[in-house]
Subunit: 197 residues, 2 copies
DNA sequence: ACCTGAACACCGTTCAAGT
DNA sequence: ACCTGAACACCGTTCAAGT
């Protein structure tokens, strides 16, 4: 059926789609443009992907892995600030790679989440869960079931990123640049501490 | 240029678009289908809206007003539970009208937010801000700048709704039905209380 | 095996022509 | 004034034909 997954043509197609998405947004990712950018014809992508949704799913997997790597790196130094750094890395990655982030978490129709995608998402959430447990053990975060606390924190970070990306944070609620986002994340984590100053 | 805003044809077009969005999702909202459902021709909507994005913006305004009304009603009884009730009403409305909610807050291209849309969004956020201030005064919510606290709470509710709608809450993080969502909102508000039990 | 160009059905949008 | 049907450019997808 399909060529081997590691084929150079497939990789070129994904890379072309990624570049088009970053530079021109979702509307720029047409299979015709992807083919042209990858140096193949209009219908060649169908040799490597079932349809456009399948190609976008491959891009989404790449994005999830990148996001996980960014979080890992931010928290790798460990210490008291590991959770806040991971949280800010999440929002920062989402805002800086907004088109890719929206591909994964927006409403663009994609292929049914593959096992690989589920796995990548679970890995990211698992890492966040570990950070939450550590922060609770260190008294930096209030008590509560760790898994639910992690889900709640994820929703908060996701909501902040999404509202910022879609431009809903403005005028009376302006969040300006990195500092503004960092302040909101810090405020959230401070509010979630076991005791208030 | 345009017919009067209150014209019956315009209202029929918006109603048809709303019905198609609810029953068939965003892909079902084509101007051809909208025209047919409204009993007019394919290009008649252009007499009442500049383009499809403009029609969707009108739908988005309607949705924002509905969402605001749902929140108002939930908190109108007042009392200690006003903020939790408003929070849950927000998530519940978003999940039950997911296509409409995603039209407002998703990545679907829309016309630039009109003054009316900004106004509706500000009204909703303002109401949430008032509830936050009251909850703080009653000692049900930790201290912190009310406006930023409200923004943070909004992001949390939005993130929960969005993750639930897009199906990212499953398997290890399953949130089942109304009860699951209510529990997460309650957990969040409990964690944000000034002191933990 | 892999790729190509033509073709089909669909959509947003425009416009001359009708009443 | 408002509406209609035909037409244009574009897209996802398919497929017989090439090497």
């Amino acid at each position: 059926m399909s060529p081997p997954d590691g084929g150079p043509t497939r990789a070129a197609v994904v890379a072309a789609a990624s570049a088009l998405l970053e530079s021109g947004g979702p509307d720029a990712v047409t299979l015709r443009a992807v083919g042209a950018a990858a140096g193949v014809s209009r219908s060649t992508p169908y040799r490597h992907f079932q349809d456009k949704a399948d190609l976008l799913a491959a891009l989404a997997l790449q994005t999830l892995n990148d996001l996980g790597a960014a979080i890992s790196e931010a928290s790798s130094r460990g210490g008291d600030g590991a959770l806040p750094r991971a949280c800010f890395a999440y929002v920062r990655y989402a805002v800086e790679h907004s088109h890719h982030y929206m591909l994964v978490f927006g409403d663009t129709p994609m292929a049914e989440p593959s096992a690989a995608i589920e796995e990548a998402a679970d890995a990211g959430m698992g890492a966040l869960g570990v950070l939450v447990e550590r922060a609770q053990a260190d008294g930096e975060l209030g008590d509560g079931p760790p898994r639910e606390m992690a889900t709640m924190l994820w929703a908060l970070l996701h909501g902040l990123a999404q509202l910022q990306i879609t431009g809903h944070l403005r005028e009376p609620r302006t969040v300006q640049g990195d500092d503004g986002l960092r302040q909101l994340v810090t405020l959230a984590l401070t509010a979630l501490r076991p005791t208030q100053p």
